[in-house]
Each structure stands twice: as structure tokens, then as C-alpha cells.
């Protein structure tokens, strides 16, 4: 199984630690991850701001870069949603029949928690994270992808974690891409309520599957000097007691997915 990582432009530029955590985590679970060169951006900012025609070359680039892989995994619910929900529409809009075909034939794109739970068949990834954590389900992962409680199942299996429930968790944090700039006042009002709920939990760490939303909530938490950190789900799942002992961690994680089992076997043969 050829697995490609789609890092997303935001993570690549601002949050490379998340990408490194995904690589650490997946390798620990016995997967070999490739990082196709030439990848840039899914085009969501353009599409969601109304610049749909500007989005066409980015969709074309994505289909070219990831052609031939069996699965694409990405640490962003929002970008996964863009590819899965909107790429067909962008291709249709472009009037380019070949692009439509390319989009249809593109490999499946999984948000990280979907990939772990559905493809690798694992919820205990062998992580250790002795902190008080609360989880914010981002809107696109929740409503567009329907990841359900997969991220929570993964977090519950982390050793040492003190996972606390976030009040009004399913309400939007107010990021919304360019909404955060175009309607800054409303965006901030929404974030203020989100921050209040985060502080009510007494958590040290706010976790989510999208760094875009975490950038927004985290930027407010930081401005208010609350001392609450934000961390991408991948970074918590990549943490262990002993550091990156990949094969051991994968074995102890009880990896069940066929792809992972094969991958674990590969790492055992010298």
C-alpha cells in the first residue's frame, strides 16, 4: 500500500511539527509514508472565498501529484473535506472532462483519525501523554467528513491522559477561513465563547484535528495569557514514554489493520 502524506500549505509553513508527528506516528505503526514533492495547497481558501476559477490549477496539481498512490492521509479535516466534497464541482466548473476523470480516479483522501481507525484499524496507537486535555471537534471534520468519535476514541486510548469534556463542543470556534478577517468582530465573539468553555475545563492542552481552528483559538488563548496550549491530535498521538521506538510501539499498540500488519512485518525483516 503506497501511502502519501498531504501536509497542507498551512501545516507546511506554520506547523511543520504536526507533519513530523504524523510521520513519526505512522512509521511507529509500521507504515511507510511518502511525501510527494510538488504538493502545495488544496485550494480551499480560494474556493470558499468565491474565487472558484483560481482553484482549478490547484485541483489539477493535486490530482497530478497524488496520482498512483493507494491512499492520501492528511492532518486536516477541513482540507480533506475540500478534496472530497468540492473537487468534483471544481472540475465540473472548469469544463475540462479530463480533470473530472482525474478527480474521480484520484486516491481516497483520509483525515488522520479516519486513516488510523478505518484503514489501519487501530485506536490504541501506543501513545503516552500525561496531561489534562480537552478536545474540540472542528466543524468540517464533524459535519463534512463525519469523523464522529474517532478522534476521541484515539485520545481515550492514550496512556496517562486526563481527557475532559468540552462544553458546547460542537459549536464553531469562529475561524471559517477568510471569515476570520472579513467578519473579524463576529469571529472573535464566537471564539470568546469557545475560549470560555476551554477555560472551564481546566485543561492544560486544547486538542483538535485542524491547525487552522487551533491557530484561531490558540491565538486568543495566547493573547489572553491563559497558559493553555493548543496541540494537533497527531502530536499527542505521536508522544511516547521512550521516544520514537517505532517497531516496539507498533507491536504494543495491537495494530490490527491489514496494511499496518504488512508494514509491521516489513520493518521486522532486516
Amino acid at each position: 500500500m503506497r501511502i502519501a502524506l498531504f501536509i497542507t500549505c498551512l501545516n507546511d509553513t506554520l506547523f511543520p511539527a504536526t507533519g513530523r508527528a504524523v510521520v513519526t506516528l505512522l512509521e511507529r505503526l509500521g507504515c511507510r509514508v511518502e511525501f510527494p514533492q510538488g504538493q502545495t495547497c488544496c485550494g480551499q481558501m480560494h474556493f470558499n472565498t468565491g474565487y472558484q476559477r483560481d482553484c482549478v490549477p490547484l485541483v489539477r496539481r493535486f490530482t497530478e501529484v497524488f496520482a498512483g498512490y493507494d491512499a492520501v492521509v492528511t492532518p486536516s479535516g477541513s482540507c480533506a473535506g475540500m478534496v472530497r466534497e468540492q473537487y468534483g464541482r471544481v472540475a465540473e466548473l472548469s469544463g475540462d472532462a479530463r480533470l473530472s476523470t482525474a478527480v474521480q480516479e484520484a486516491p481516497p483522501v483520509y483525515e488522520l483519525s479516519e486513516f488510523l481507525v478505518d484503514v489501519l484499524g487501530v485506536t490504541d496507537v501506543g501513545a503516552y501523554f500525561p496531561h489534562r486535555v480537552t478536545y474540540h471537534p472542528t466543524c468540517h471534520s464533524l459535519r463534512m467528513l463525519g469523523v464522529g468519535d474517532r478522534p476521541l476514541a484515539l485520545l481515550r486510548a492514550v496512556r496517562g491522559i486526563d481527557l475532559v469534556e468540552l462544553g458546547a463542543a460542537e459549536q464553531c470556534c469562529g475561524f471559517g477561513g477568510t471569515f476570520a478577517l472579513k467578519n473579524a468582530d463576529t469571529s472573535v465573539a464566537m471564539c470568546t465563547d469557545k475560549v470560555r468553555h476551554v477555560l472551564d475545563t481546566g485543561a492544560d492542552v486544547l486538542c483538535a484535528g485542524d491547525n487552522s481552528c487551533l491557530m484561531h483559538i490558540g491565538g486568543t488563548l495566547s493573547r489572553l495569557r491563559t497558559g493553555v496550549r493548543v496541540m494537533h491530535l497527531a502530536e499527542i498521538l505521536a508522544s511516547t514514554e521512550t521516544g520514537p521506538d517505532h517497531a516496539a510501539a507498533a507491536a504494543s499498540a495491537g495494530v490490527t489493520g491489514p496494511a499496518a500488519r504488512r508494514a509491521v512485518e516489513r520493518t521486522k525483516t532486516p
Partner: protein, 492 residues
């Protein structure tokens, strides 16, 4: 659509700024929408076949709209055969003229009104006032809005922005000007407030000879109009006066009574969180010795045919005005209904107003952007209107329109620049390096506290992250030297 109500509203972000400063408003809205949200979730949760019902509601609307011309003619024939008269209005102006003329023909100087968003859409009350005719709203919340010289801010609860203390003040101050005054010593007990409204309205019901109503549904097979309500004031309006004028949009038709059954389940659970609404009134033309002697049905187009022509946008005509999308919307909950500058607020308003009114005004162009695209509206919509999809569709329309009109926009430059960089990986790497270097020069303790230009809208209230010293791609190439550099690609 109306050119009288909400005239000259500013664009959404500007109106929102003012609304967000009103702490009373935010408190009232959070409490009220929170309560209705919980009630709706309970009422929907107990219905096992809710998803099938939603799908039926959507499919029936879609089919009906596809053959709307046929059903409208069938409706006209049945209403006429039952003794009613049907009038067709192309736009708001024509609709106002028809209704004013119908009232003038009766010789009356006042009308009672109930349950009509369309009369607000067309600005009927203002037109009646100009013709010297007093219009009294009899829906309790509408009465509060009218007595407070205010605008409605919610589809179901037009006075949702008021709490009972404010309502008490409005009643004490204004009821006397228009009829039976509020009793002295009125307090803010909801029962007492309702009693004061009842006494005030009863006098109007017993005196009025003409009523103007809206309609929830029109059943084409029998020519029957349906009004669904909670208070019974609607039934008073529909039965007591001699002349009844019902004004509604052409999209309210359902083919048969069997279809109506679906919506009578979807609507109350979605709007008030009730299994069934207290009053459902149905009438077919006129009936000898009972109810109004004369019945007029005014069917308004008002941009609906144009909306119907748009394959993506037309689904907003499925709307049954339940207001579930308002109650779950995190934007609506914070800014309230007035910010949307239309009788149709909230997510549905953001997709309906720019289609009915067009996108010529700055306010209407700003509406499709008044959403974080969280998708909560789509999840609760009983007729499955994909509001986020229509919002995106309308955003593209606005951007294209501005491009064609060559309206100067710094945003367009930024988007074009971003496209250039993002379609050239080597440029992206260079930009990342430059951004990383530049921002580390100005960052303090790993945060950016102040950014220039439009980005200050971010840093006014939020710290910004510092671009990494080494991007993920650069890290990968350094740690995986076997990775080949990307081949030079065709630039798009």
C-alpha cells in the same frame, strides 16, 4: 423585494460590529436560541424516521418546484371554483398596489394582520400607511415589534431580541397610542404580559372588517390555504373579518393533502420543538354562512422565478420558514437578526435575500460571506437545503460580478498572488523562507502580536503564529535526501 424596510442597511460586518456591542441583545439571543435548540433536538430525537421525513420533504419540494407552473394553475382553478379570487404579482410594487386597492375597495381604514413574512418582504404596512390605512399586527411577537417601532429579527419569534422586561416597557409606553392601553401596574410576568396583549388585540379582532394574512402551505388539488400557528390569533384573523386577503410567495404550493402530511410533521418539530402546533387552520375559498364573505389570494413572484432558474440556488425555495437554521447558527446567535438587513435573517436569509433581491447593494453582496461555513444549518434543515453549498455558490457569483464590473478589490490581488505562489512549489518554498526570516525578526517570544494592513484584523485580538524556521517540506528534503526535487511542471 422590499425597498422600504431595512432601507440603506450597511454591509454585514459593519452592522455586526454594532450588534456585538449590545450585551443585552447577546444575552437575550443566547438564552432564547439555546432553549429552542434543546427543545428541537428532543422533538426530533424521538422521531425514528426523521431522516426519511427530511428526505421526503426535500424530494416533494423539488418535484413540485419542477412543475410549479402546473400546480399554480391548478391552484388558481380550485380557489376560483371555491369562490376565492387569485391575483398575480410580479414584484413587490405590484403586490403592494393590488393589496392596497383590495382594501380600499372595501372602504375600510384599518386591517388586522397575521403570519405574513411576505407582506414584510414587500413592505405592505408602509404602503397601507401611505394610503391612510392602519395595519395592526396580531401575532404576539409581531405586535411587540410593531409597538416598539422595531424590525423583526427572527422568522418564528420576531421579537426574540427583546426580553420580558423590555416587552413590559414597550406595552406600557405604546399600547395606549393604538388602542386599549396596558393595565396600570403591569409587571414582567409572562402571563400578565400575554393578558395585556389579549385585551389589546381582542378589541381589534372584534372591530376589524378586513384581515391580511400569510400562508404556510397551499394545497393545489383542492385550492386550500393552510396557516400553522401557536396563539390562536391567526384563527381570529382568518375567521372573524368579512374580507380575507392572503398574501404569499408562489413557492408555497404542495400538490396534495398527502404531501402536506409530511410538512405538518417536519415544521412544528423543527420550529418550536413541538410534536404538533396548537392551531392549524385550513380554508378553501369561501363558505356560505361561515367565515369571510370574500377571499383574495395574492401570489407574489418577487424574484422567485429567477431563483428557480438557478440549478444550485433554487433549493432555497424548499424553505418552509421553520427557523431551525437560525437557532443553531453561531453567527446569528451572536449578531441577531437585524444585522442581516432583511425580513429573512440567519443562514436562510443569507442565501435567500441575495437571490430574491439580487447582489447590487453592498449589504446583499456581504450576506453570502456572513458565515463560518460550520454546516450546523444544513444538519438541522427539515427540507435539506444545503445552505453552505448555496453560500459558496453565491460567493462565487459576487466575486465574478465584481470582476466583471472591475470593482477595485485588494482581496482579488491577494488571491491572484496566492494562486501564483501556490501553483509554483519553488516560489512557495522561497516565500516560506522569506516569511520565516521576516517574522522572526518582528516576533516576540514566539508570537506575532501585530501585523500590518488587513492582517491587523487578525492580530487586533489574536496572536499570530510565527512561520517555522524550517518548513515541513524543507525538513523532509533534508532528512530524506533520496527524495527527488520536483520536476519542472507546466505552470498553470
Amino acid at each position: 423585494m422590499s425597498d422600504t424596510t431595512f432601507l440603506g442597511m450597511p454591509a454585514f460586518p459593519v452592522a455586526a460590529r454594532d450588534a456585538l456591542r449590545d450585551s443585552q441583545l447577546r444575552g437575550n439571543l443566547a438564552r432564547a436560541t439555546g432553549t429552542i435548540r434543546t427543545r428541537r433536538a428532543a422533538a426530533v430525537g424521538e422521531q425514528d424516521d426523521w431522516e426519511e421525513l427530511r428526505e421526503a420533504g426535500r424530494a416533494l419540494k423539488e418535484r413540485t418546484l419542477r412543475h410549479l407552473d402546473r400546480y399554480l394553475l391548478q391552484l388558481e382553478e380550485k380557489v376560483t371554483a371555491a369562490g376565492g379570487q387569485v391575483h398575480w404579482a410580479r414584484d413587490a410594487e405590484e403586490a403592494r398596489r393590488i393589496v392596497v386597492q383590495l382594501v380600499q375597495d372595501t372602504g375600510e381604514r384599518e386591517v388586522v394582520k397575521v403570519k405574513s413574512m411576505v407582506t414584510q418582504e414587500i413592505g405592505l404596512n408602509e404602503a397601507l400607511a401611505e394610503a391612510g390605512i392602519d395595519a395592526y399586527e396580531t401575532d404576539l411577537a409581531e405586535l411587540i415589534v410593531q409597538l416598539g417601532h422595531d424590525q423583526p429579527s427572527h422568522i418564528l419569534v420576531p421579537a426574540i431580541h427583546r426580553n420580558r422586561a423590555e416587552i413590559r416597557e414597550i406595552f406600557l409606553r405604546s399600547m395606549g397610542e393604538y388602542g386599549t392601553p396596558a393595565p396600570a401596574g403591569l409587571d414582567d410576568d409572562p402571563r400578565r404580559l400575554a393578558e395585556a396583549a389579549r385585551r389589546h388585540l381582542r378589541e381589534k379582532f372584534l372591530r376589524a372588517k378586513v384581515a391580511v394574512s400569510g400562508v404556510n402551505f397551499l394545497v393545489a388539488e383542492t385550492g386550500t390555504a393552510v396557516v400553522v400557528e401557536s396563539e390562536g390569533n391567526g384563527r381570529m384573523c382568518l375567521t372573524l373579518p368579512e374580507t380575507l386577503i392572503s398574501v404569499t410567495g408562489i413557492e408555497k404550493v404542495v400538490p396534495t393533502w398527502q404531501d402536506l402530511e409530511v410538512y405538518l410533521q417536519l415544521l412544528p418539530r423543527s420550529s418550536t420543538g413541538e410534536r404538533m402546533n396548537p392551531y392549524t387552520s385550513t380554508w378553501t375559498g369561501t363558505t356560505a354562512e361561515d367565515g369571510p364573505r370574500t377571499f383574495h389570494l395574492v401570489l407574489v413572484d418577487g424574484g422567485r422565478t429567477d431563483t428557480l432558474a438557478d440549478p444550485v440556488g433554487r433549493q432555497v425555495l424548499n424553505c418552509i420558514r421553520c427557523s431551525a437554521c437560525l437557532n443553531v447558527c453561531p453567527v446569528y446567535e451572536r449578531v441577531g437578526g437585524h444585522t442581516y438587513g432583511s425580513v429573512y435573517p440567519g443562514p436562510i436569509g443569507a442565501v435567500l435575500s441575495p437571490q430574491l433581491r439580487g447582489t447590487d447593494s453592498e449589504a446583499d453582496r456581504s450576506l453570502p460571506f456572513a458565515s463560518s461555513l460550520c454546516g450546523a444549518c444544513y444538519e438541522v434543515c427539515p427540507v435539506k437545503i444545503d445552505i453552505p453549498r448555496v453560500l459558496l455558490h453565491l460567493r462565487a457569483r459576487v466575486v465574478e460580478q465584481e470582476r466583471e464590473r472591475r470593482l477595485p478589490k485588494p482581496e482579488r490581488l491577494a488571491m491572484t498572488a496566492a494562486r501564483w505562489v501556490l501553483t509554483r512549489p519553488s516560489w512557495l518554498s522561497a516565500a516560506q523562507r522569506a516569511g520565516g526570516l521576516g517574522s522572526r525578526l518582528v516576533a516576540r517570544r514566539g508570537r506575532l502580536g501585530r501585523l500590518p494592513g488587513p492582517l491587523s484584523r487578525w492580530t487586533d485580538t489574536r496572536d499570530a503564529p510565527v512561520p517555522a524556521a524550517e518548513s515541513f517540506s524543507a525538513w523532509w528534503r533534508r532528512t530524506h535526501p533520496e527524495t527527488r526535487r520536483p520536476a519542472r511542471r507546466r505552470q498553470s
